[in-house]
Each structure stands twice: as structure tokens, then as C-alpha cells.
């Protein structure tokens, strides 16, 4: 895919029946960006919520007022969806719940800042009170909790062997229970809950990352994690498997093996600007986990 002509589709739920959509949608696919936006998105496989900050330049006063949200008002639940990419080829890079939205004037620009978190409603509000009888499998329990999350659908659930030798009762915040019962293997990404072991991955649309795919610089390995920057890559999924092919990272010190190979994507950070007027940067920082042994692809649940 040529990485030219950055474009986006931003849908913000506002009070009332209709969502605010930028750019204003035209028939026949995505429209060119009409408002400048900046975004900073962190998605990872941790059990905490993924977060996103979007800055929109120079919305009308009416739209600024519609979007506004106090962070103290947890009853005002509105969604935000950001799809981005190149030309008409857009991928969802964030889908979540708005936690705070406000507008300020900076110089000549009115800037609306939207902060949101993925699966926000579920993290804050979902509670579980369930009893599992002796013999219930660990996998069944995790699926039961995962599928009970509000506004979140069940994604991939890996192999979690074992069953209860005694009955079990669980009560509390559902996401905290999932984190505890899965041993920290659960995460919500783009409105889907995945529960994957260290050696389990989901299928992703980007099988290989190399210079041709937009790899920038030399990947760095620290604490068994590999990180690198690449030209904004919206299709990358957290939890997917990739093959890293760096022409420089493979040249380890004498006697030290390089670290090209197959990895699991454990974090994706998108930050950048998409604008009809300003060039700006758009970079994706990718974190990979090193796993000795084969990675198993886990199919996602069919909805």
C-alpha cells in the first residue's frame, strides 16, 4: 500500500440522535480530510484501557458545544470512532468512549480536545455476580465474563486449560475479574475483548514489517521487548503476529544473534496529524514481545 494521501473518518456521538461525522460524509466512500486533526493513541495488551486523544482544529461553535463533555459526568456516555489510512483505504485505529472533551482557543485556532478510552463503559460500570459449579472449565468462565461486557464484543479467546475442582463464586468489577482470572491475559482493543496467552496471537492484515512496509530506523530490544517506529500504519492490530525484517537489526555484535523474526504485537502507538492544509508527521510506534517457541493463531469469535 502506498502511504500517501493520509485521510481519516471521525465519528463522534453527540447528544441527540445523530453523530457528528468528519469529514462530512459524501456518497461513494471517504471524503478528503476537511479539518485538521492530531491524534495520540495508545493500544496495548495490558488489562488497562487503551486511550486516545484527538485534537480537532477549528470546529464551529455549535459543534464544539455539542462535543463538550465533563470528565466528572460518568453518566454522559458517548462513543468516538476514528478510522484513518491513506486515500479511501481506512482502518479503525480507535473505537471507544469519550471521557473528556473541551475546546480552547490557541492563537488563531479553536482546538477541540477529545480524550477517550476503549471499552470505557465496561471498565467503569460492568459488575459481575456469578457462581460457577465444580467442573466448569477455565475457558468457559473467561468467555462468560468476556461476553458479558457492555458495548464490547468477544474476540479471540485462547487455550486456558483446567477446570474447577470446587465451585467458585465471583463478584466485582468484570474487567478486574477478567484480569485476575486470566492472569493478566485479557485486553480490549477497538471494542473487542481478547484473552490470549503469551504464545497466542490473532490474525492480522500486516504479516511482515520491513523497510518496504514503512519500517523506520533500527528496532531496539530491551527487556525482551522490541520497539521500533514506522510510517503511520493504521492496519496493525494489537495481539497480531508479525514477521520483523530489519536490514540493520539483524546485524548483532559478533557472536550475538540478531533479532529479526516472528513476534507478537503487544503495543501500538499512533501519533500524528492528518490535515488538508499542513503536512505534519504520522508515526506508528510498535512494541513486540519476544517469545521462544511457536505462536499459535487463535480465531476470533463469530458474532
Amino acid at each position: 500500500m502506498d502511504k500517501l494521501g493520509r485521510n481519516y473518518y471521525l465519528e463522534i456521538e453527540v447528544p441527540g440522535s445523530q453523530s457528528l461525522i468528519l469529514p462530512h460524509q459524501l456518497p461513494g466512500g471517504a471524503s478528503p480530510a476537511t479539518f485538521t486533526i492530531e491524534f495520540d493513541i495508545t493500544r496495548n495488551t495490558l488489562t488497562s484501557a487503551n486511550v486516545c486523544q484527538i485534537r480537532i482544529f477549528n470546529l464551529s461553535k455549535n459543534n464544539r458545544n455539542k462535543i463538550r463533555k465533563d470528565d466528572m459526568d460518568q453518566s454522559d456516555l458517548r462513543t468516538v470512532l476514528l478510522r484513518a489510512g491513506y486515500g479511501n483505504s481506512l482502518s479503525t485505529i480507535f473505537s471507544g468512549t469519550i471521557s473528556r472533551a473541551s475546546s480552547v482557543r490557541e492563537g488563531v485556532n479553536f482546538i477541540t480536545t477529545i480524550e477517550s478510552f476503549d471499552g470505557g463503559f465496561a471498565f467503569v460500570n460492568d459488575h459481575t455476580s456469578l457462581t460457577f459449579l465444580k467442573g466448569a472449565s477455565q475457558e468457559t468462565m473467561l468467555k462468560t465474563l468476556g461476553s458479558s461486557l457492555t458495548n464490547v464484543s468477544l474476540g479471540a479467546v485462547g487455550k486456558f486449560p483446567g477446570s474447577l475442582s470446587r465451585g467458585a463464586a465471583v463478584s466485582g468489577n468484570t474487567t478486574q475479574l477478567l484480569a485476575e482470572m486470566s492472569g493478566g491475559a485479557f485486553f480490549i482493543d477497538n471494542g473487542k475483548v481478547h484473552i490470549l496467552g503469551n504464545d497466542e496471537v490473532i490474525e492480522g492484515p500486516i504479516p511482515t514489517i520491513n523497510a518496504a512496509a514503512g519500517l523506520l530506523g533500527t528496532p531496539v530490544i530491551e527487556n525482551l521487548q522490541v520497539t521500533f517506529d514506522m510510517i503511520f500504519e493504521p492496519r496493525l492490530l494489537v495481539g497480531q503476529k508479525i514477521l520483523l525484517e530489519s536490514s540493520t537489526a539483524d546485524q548483532g555484535r559478533q557472536g550475538v544473534q540478531g533479532f529479526n523474526g516472528t513476534y507478537k504485537v503487544i503495543s501500538v502507538k499512533h501519533r500524528g496529524m492528518i490535515s488538508p492544509a499542513v503536512c505534519g508527521d504520522a508515526i506508528t510506534t510498535v512494541g513486540l514481545s519476544q517469545w521462544v517457541g511457536a505462536l499459535t493463531i487463535v480465531p476470533q469469535a463469530t458474532q
Binding site: 447528544p15 465533563d70 466528572m72 459526568d73 460518568q74 453518566s75 454522559d76 456516555l77 458517548r78 460500570n125 459488575h127 455476580s129 456469578l130 457462581t131 459449579l133 465444580k134 474447577l164 475442582s165 470446587r166 465451585g167 467458585a168 463464586a169 465471583v170 463478584s171 466485582g172 478486574q176 485476575e180 482470572m181 492472569g183
Partner: protein
């Protein structure tokens, strides 16, 4: 205050201080931490001495007021805690001895939540690794049966004896004497006292009866008379001993 739905919350939006945050964190930890809960027995499996139990109060959650849609406010909603299953019961014992009780549905109990997972211990009774990392979980309860609310408080609580009671029969241990009573209220001490008294009277009557022929020229066998006297003395001693043991 009895209205548990009106939990006061400071809803004035303000930037919290570190102290506020730490207090909230402390409260959150307290709310998440299970130490012990009051519960009611729903069933008892005497073969493995486990119960299922329901916790005796409901959980308050704040959920969106559905009546006013997404822009509505949160309202407190009461919901039940999960049913506790396969909960081992504490049976008082030691060595090869134990005291068991007829545990029934409806009995009140205190459920103690162990610090760590008890699954492996429950299966084997051995020292070993825990089956999971859970801590203070609802799944690791241990029931202590015998807790009473005002509704089930024991009437006529005996403050001078240690009492082992089932229904209307009881054994009471005073500091010196033992009281054993049945449903009629008669004590074993009274019954045995009456018995020894009757035996003593019987022996006296027999002795008198057999002594009569001596008065009319047919002397009683001295050996028989001595035996009767010994038995009467023994009965008298037994009566005295029972009086020192039983009320």
C-alpha cells in the same frame, strides 16, 4: 439510618487532592477485600461437610438510570452476591474426636474468606502450591455455623453451665455437676436418684421381710442379712456419688 439506597456521595465536581485520592483508594481496597461475611446456609452435604450459602446482605451498585437514557444520572441498585458453593464447614474437633451438629438450611453462619486459594488444600489436605493467585476470594470461603441474629437468638441462655443442646434435650456442665435433661425436663440425676432410692427401699423391704421369720423362731441366715446390708450400703454410696456428679 435504615435506607441503604441513600448512600451519600459528594457529587460536587472538584479536582481531588492526593489525600482524597488515597482515601478513595483505601475505600476501594476495603470494598474489594473479602474478610468475612454473614451468610445463610442453603444446603449441607454431610458426606464432605460443605455447604452452599447466600450472603445475608445485598450489594449496592451505581448504574445508569435507564428511565432517563444516557443523559440520566446514576442510581444505586441492590443486587445479590453470588451463591457460595462447596464451602467447607468448621467441625470442632481434634485427634480422633469431634463434635458434629445437625446443620440445616436456614442456619446462619459466618463465612471466612481465606487469604489464598484453598482448592488444592481441600482436595489433598497437604501442603503445596496454590491453584491460582486469587486472594480473599468469594471462592475460598470457610463456614463457621452457629451465628445468631435477634430472630434466632437462643432463649433461656444458661449463663452458669456449658450446655450441649439439641432441641429440648441438653447436657449442661456446671463447675461441679452435670445436668442431663430430656424433652420432659427430667434430669438424669433425678431419674437415677429416684432409681437408687427405689432400690434402697426395695432392699430394706426385702431385709425386713426376710427378718420376720426370725422373730417367729426361724432365724434369718446371717450371711443373707450381711449381703443385704452390703448392697444397701453400696446403693447408698452410689446415690451419694450420683448426687456428686449429676444434678
Amino acid at each position: 439510618m435504615n435506607d441503604n439506597t441513600s448512600i451519600s456521595l459528594n457529587t460536587i465536581p472538584a479536582e481531588p487532592t492526593m489525600s482524597d485520592l488515597l482515601n478513595l483508594l483505601k475505600r476501594e481496597i476495603f470494598l474489594d477485600l473479602n474478610c468475612h461475611h454473614l451468610a445463610t446456609i442453603q444446603s449441607f452435604d454431610p458426606s464432605v461437610q460443605t455447604v452452599t450459602a447466600t450472603i445475608n446482605y445485598t450489594k449496592t451498585s451505581f448504574v445508569l438510570n435507564e428511565g432517563t437514557g444516557k443523559q440520566g444520572s446514576y442510581k444505586p441498585v441492590q443486587s445479590n452476591y453470588p451463591l457460595l458453593v462447596d464451602v467447607p464447614v468448621i467441625v470442632i474437633g481434634g485427634g480422633k474426636g469431634n463434635i458434629t451438629f445437625p446443620i440445616n438450611q436456614g442456619d446462619q453462619c459466618l463465612v471466612l474468606f481465606n487469604d489464598r486459594n484453598i482448592d488444592n488444600w481441600f482436595q489433598s489436605g497437604q501442603v503445596g502450591p496454590v491453584a491460582s493467585s486469587r486472594a480473599h476470594s468469594f471462592s475460598d470461603g470457610i463456614a463457621l455455623v452457629g451465628l445468631n441474629s435477634l430472630n434466632t437468638s437462643i432463649s433461656g441462655y444458661d449463663v452458669s453451665r456449658a450446655v450441649f443442646q439439641n432441641g429440648t434435650t441438653k447436657i449442661g456442665l456446671a463447675e461441679i455437676l452435670i445436668l442431663i435433661t430430656n424433652s420432659n425436663g427430667k434430669s438424669l440425676g433425678t431419674i437415677l436418684g429416684n432409681l437408687t432410692q427405689a432400690l434402697s427401699s426395695l432392699m430394706t423391704a426385702l431385709n425386713t421381710a426376710f427378718a420376720l421369720p426370725a422373730a417367729i423362731g426361724s432365724p434369718l441366715d446371717p450371711a443373707w442379712s450381711a449381703s443385704v446390708s452390703t448392697i444397701v450400703t453400696a446403693i447408698s454410696q452410689a446415690n451419694t456419688d450420683l448426687g456428686g456428679l449429676l444434678e
